[in-house]
Structures are given as structure tokens and as C-alpha cells.
Amino acid sequence: MAADLQAPFIRRALLEPEPPPLAGGDALTRGRARLFGGVFNTVLTVASAIIIAALVWPALKFLLIDAVWTGASRVDCLPETVGREVGACWPFIKAKFVQFMYGFYPASEQWRVDVTYALGAALLAPLLIPAVPYKGTNAILFFGLFPVVAFFLLVGGVLGLPHVETRVWGGLLVTLVISFTGIIFSLPLGVLLALGRRSHLPIIRALCVIFIEFWRGVPLITVLFFATYMLPFFLPDAWRIDALARVLIGVVLFAGAYMAEVVRGGLQAIPRGQFEGAMALGLGYWRMMGFVILPQALRLVIPGIVNSFIALFKDTTLVLIVAIFDLLGQLRAAFADPNWATPVTLFTGFAFAGMIYFLVSFGMSRYALLMERRLNIQQPR
């Protein structure tokens, strides 16, 4: 038909769709083309390989190859005793493991912590797996019932469970308690603050703006310090609140203010038409927000929300300065034990803590990514 552009053209039969042509052969050929195509690419590939090797090899050597796996005290981890270069001193972690997990929670009561973990995991796992039904009931159990049960299990004083003061809590237990509380309370608080900041009612809007700006303007360390050392001076003795509870409240308010700004970003991205569509149906403010606006707004800011969660999880280490011993605090306390004083104790400890923090943070981040993809497939734009 290209031969004569002037002639009228009428298609007799419609063309059938064809599969796209394969791009550049099999995986090996494609890989070679990408990694070694041209001088620049080759240089980049070689340089990256060298950097990776320079980082990975020493890490492997320290963590696995040169590591000491069994022993009872510092002597087993000294180069003089072992007769070679010494990597990680894993017996140190083994010896202090209970402390890292529970702090000074009484040994006879540690099962309560385990039960709390097990219960939490049993309720959280089905909530995270999309295929499992009864999400509504599940969510109510996890977000509503579980915190209450966990509170009584851990604190005790009811049903014959001996009371365990929060003073002796420590290690991963404290880290998880602070982050879990921060995460489940900061999101609803943030949502309410974000809605308040966009409210048409001037007093509510002003209060929310002041609240958010105040908490965002103050460093978390100051908040923790104030909650721990200053607040008791201002409050009458009868109002004494538990030290850990004070820190929890501080963390929730602090994280809530940040969350509010993340959520507000999502709210601003929702087109006006969605509000109008919901209003025209007579949904009213709370139903409009709950069923139409927030589900879309929160979905848009999943990366920001998870970012806040991860930051919060790692920020819990700051409670160290108000003498609450979270995982990192417990670790540093263990460094002081002369029984385990070796040149590698410090590195071993930080490597262990680093792995735990990384596992949790990376897990959250990957899960969020999975959810984002799933929601995008479910609802193409």
C-alpha cells in the first residue's frame, strides 16, 4: 500500500495480534550484553565487583570463618587461647542471650513474655497474609484485644500472676513494646490530627496545627527527658505514672505528629471530585472519610507510613538515655561485664543487634512493597 499513497485503502481482514519479539536472546547473552557492553559498562561492572568483594569477604570472615562458636568465658575468645585471628565471639551472645531478650524480667516469669510474643505472632500472621479470611475480626483482636491481654500478661497483678515492675523489663522486650505501642497508636492519632488540620472548624484546626508543630519542633530526646525527669516535678505524687508508660506516651505523641503530616500529604492528593461524589450521596463527614477518602489516601502514603514505622522502631534505642534498657541498652550493659571483655566483644554485640534491627526493618519494608503491588493490581488506575 506504500506504493501508491494516493489510492484509497480498505482493509479486507483485521490483523490478528502477534506476540512481541524476544529481546536479545537468552539470559546469558542478555546478561553479558548488559554487564560488559562497551568499555564504560565493563569498568563499572569490574569496579562494583571489587567493592562488593571488599565488603563481603571481611564480613564473612569475621562473622563465620574466624568466629568462635563455643566457649564459657572471655578466655575462649582470646587470640592467644585460640591460636589464630579471632572473629565474632558468639559464646558471648549465647551467655547474655536471655538478658538481651528479657532484660531482668524474672526467670520464672519469662514464659509470660513468650506467651505474649506467641499470641501476637498468631494474631499478626493471618492479618498479614492476604488470603486468610475474617480480616475484620482479626484486626479487632490484634489492635483491640491483644494490647490489653499483653498488658496484663506482662505487668501481671491479676489472675494470680505476680506483678512485674517495668523497671526490670529490658532488651528486645522493651524495644518491641515501645515500637508496637508507638506504631499502633501513632497511626490513628496521626489520622485524627491530619483530619483536624484540614478541618473547617477554626479552633480544631488551630489546636491540631499547634500540636503537630510543637511535637515536630522538639527532639525526641528532649521529649523523653522531659517525660522521665521533669514531669514528676509538675504532677502531684498521687499522679505518679510508671516510667515506661511516660516514655510510651511521649513516643506515641511524637510519632503521631509525624504521622499526621504523612497522612495529610495523602489527603491532599485525593481529587476534589471524590469528596463531592461522597457528599452528594449524603455519606456525611465520618463515613466519607472512613470509606472513601482515607482508604485511598492511606494507600498513597504507604511508603511514608512504613518509613515512619521503621524510623520509630530504630528511634526506640534513644530510651537508653532515660535509663530504660532496650536491646541496645542491654547490649551496652553486657559490654561492661569483665567476664566477657575481649577485643571483639563490642563488634560481636553490635553485629548481633544490627542483624536484629535489620531483619525487622527490612521485613517491614518488603512487606509494604508487597502490599503496594497487590493493591495496584487489585485496582488499576
Binding site: P271, G273, Q274, E276, G277, A278, M279, A280, L281, G282, L283, G284, R287, F291, V292, P295, Q296, R299, Q378, Q379, P380, R381
Partner: protein, 269 residues
């Protein structure tokens, strides 16, 4: 209730078992008196007076920016105003949120941009308000929704998401969603303006069917063929005011105002 009550006629002709019969004494559906509205300093609605009787179908046309959309949005108070009164089905719209929700329950609205909820399926879009506003049991709400989806001729799309449908289908879902609240009055804000030409007809046909059922309708549209076919009265708006209000026959064949003649000559080439 008079013998000529179109409400009764609708329920009988459509043989509609799902529709509970609505009987209202009030023959006036919408009454607008001296409505004035400003956007900042811009006087967008100027002294609007309009009375719409039950079963009437009013088509408002006029150049863009003339205030058609704003006027429609005042009828269910998605926009507020500075002066004048709007009375819908006997309820005067004021600051009172309860009254506003009461009116919005009875007034369906279809938008130029559809405004479907993209995170909900077609069926969920249709059942959301009946379940949460009308307190209808879920099963019944779904039954009603499927009924209206069948009526706009897309029953098979119920489980899809709005983003998977064509523009014309989305607009018909939007009409079905509004109808699921079983409103007494329907407002259409340029319902075909953002559609591909091939899809305009399917939406207009749905609206014509609705008009034949006796629905009270106020439509902002430039579809003159549609207007001729269904309107009881035509309104031409320009610069925030009514320029001409007339019977369709007179409006199209013997327009009285110079502005109407100009507008019609521009639009009907």
C-alpha cells in the same frame, strides 16, 4: 397526592418491586429564590429564581463559566452561597448539617468526571450509600444495585473496578449509583462532556429512559438533541444569570433573547 402524580405513574409503568412507593404531598421539588453567590470577588450566581415542579425536566445550557455547575451544586449544597434561599422537597437548606444530609439523601447527582470511588468495585460503589446512609441490609442493597446496573445495561460489570471500564460505562455506573439511593430528584452536571463521541449516546439513552419514568431532573448540558427530546423547560445562563427561560419548542425555534440566538447559532452549526 393529585391524580396526575408522576411518582405513581413511575412505579406502575416500570413494574418496580424493589422501589418502595414514595408519596409526597409537595408538588414543588425545588424552589430557588434570589440566589446570589460569590467566589471571592467574582459574582458567579446573580439573582437566580427557579421553581421546579415534581416530574419536571429542566435543561440548563450556556457557555462554560456561566455558573451552570455552581447552580446545580447549590441544590444539594456542595457549594454554599451568600444570599438567597434554596428549598428542596420542602426542606430549606441552611447551615444545619442534618438538613443538608437529609436533602442529599433525596437528591442524586451525576458529575462530569463521574467521581466513582476507584478503590471500590462497581457493586460496592452502588451499595455503599444505601447500606450506610439508608441502613439497608447488605443483601437487599446488592439486589437493588444489580437491578439498577441492569437498568443502565451493565449488569455484567458489577465486580469490576471503575478503572477497568470505559468512560461511557463509568458514567452509567455513576447514574446507577445515584439511583440506588432511590432519589426523588436527579442532578446532571454535564454528564457527557468528558466522554468520547462514541459513548455519548449510551449515556443519553440512559437519561432519556429515566426521564420517561417520570424522574425530576435538572440537567446542565450542551446536548441539544437530548434537550429537545426530554426537556419541559430550557434555561440559558450567561454571566451567572438566567438569560432566557422558555418552552423547548419556543427556545429552539423562536428564541427571544439575542444571547440565546447567538448561543444556539454557535452550538448548532
Amino acid at each position: 397526592m393529585g391524580s396526575g402524580d408522576p411518582e405513581q405513574g413511575r412505579a406502575e409503568t416500570s413494574g418496580d418491586v424493589l422501589l418502595e412507593m414514595r408519596t409526597t404531598e409537595n408538588p414543588v421539588a425545588i424552589e430557588i429564590v434570589g440566589l446570589n453567590k460569590w467566589f471571592g470577588k467574582f459574582h458567579v450566581l446573580r439573582d437566580i429564581d427557579l421553581k421546579v415542579m415534581r416530574g419536571e425536566r429542566i435543561v440548563i445550557c450556556g457557555p462554560s463559566g456561566s455558573g451552570k455547575s455552581t447552580l446545580l451544586r447549590c441544590i444539594n449544597r456542595i457549594e454554599d452561597w451568600q444570599r438567597g434561599r434554596v428549598i428542596v422537597d420542602g426542606t430549606e437548606l441552611t447551615e444545619d448539617l442534618k438538613k443538608i444530609d437529609e436533602v442529599r439523601r433525596e437528591v442524586g447527582m451525576v458529575f462530569q468526571q463521574f467521581n466513582l470511588f476507584p478503590h471500590l468495585t462497581v457493586l460496592e460503589n452502588c451499595t455503599l450509600a444505601p447500606i450506610w446512609v439508608r441502613r439497608m441490609p447488605k443483601k437487599q442493597a446488592e439486589e437493588v444495585a444489580r437491578h439498577y446496573l441492569a437498568r443502565v445495561r451493565i449488569p455484567e460489570q458489577a465486580d469490576k473496578y471503575p478503572g477497568q471500564l470505559s468512560g461511557g460505562q463509568q458514567q452509567r455506573v455513576a447514574i446507577a449509583r445515584a439511583l440506588c439511593m432511590q432519589p426523588k430528584i436527579m442532578l446532571f452536571d454535564e454528564p457527557t462532556s468528558s466522554l468520547d463521541p462514541e459513548m455519548v449516546k449510551e449515556v443519553l439513552d440512559t437519561m432519556i429512559a429515566l426521564a420517561l419514568d417520570g424522574m425530576t431532573m435538572v440537567v446542565a448540558s450542551h446536548e441539544m438533541g437530548f434537550a429537545r427530546q426530554v426537556a419541559n423547560r430550557m434555561v440559558l445562563m450567561d454571566a451567572g444569570q438566567f438569560v432566557e427561560v422558555n418552552e423547548p419548542e419556543a427556545f429552539f425555534t423562536r428564541p427571544q433573547h439575542e444571547r440565546t440566538r447567538l448561543f444556539l447559532s454557535q452550538i448548532l452549526r
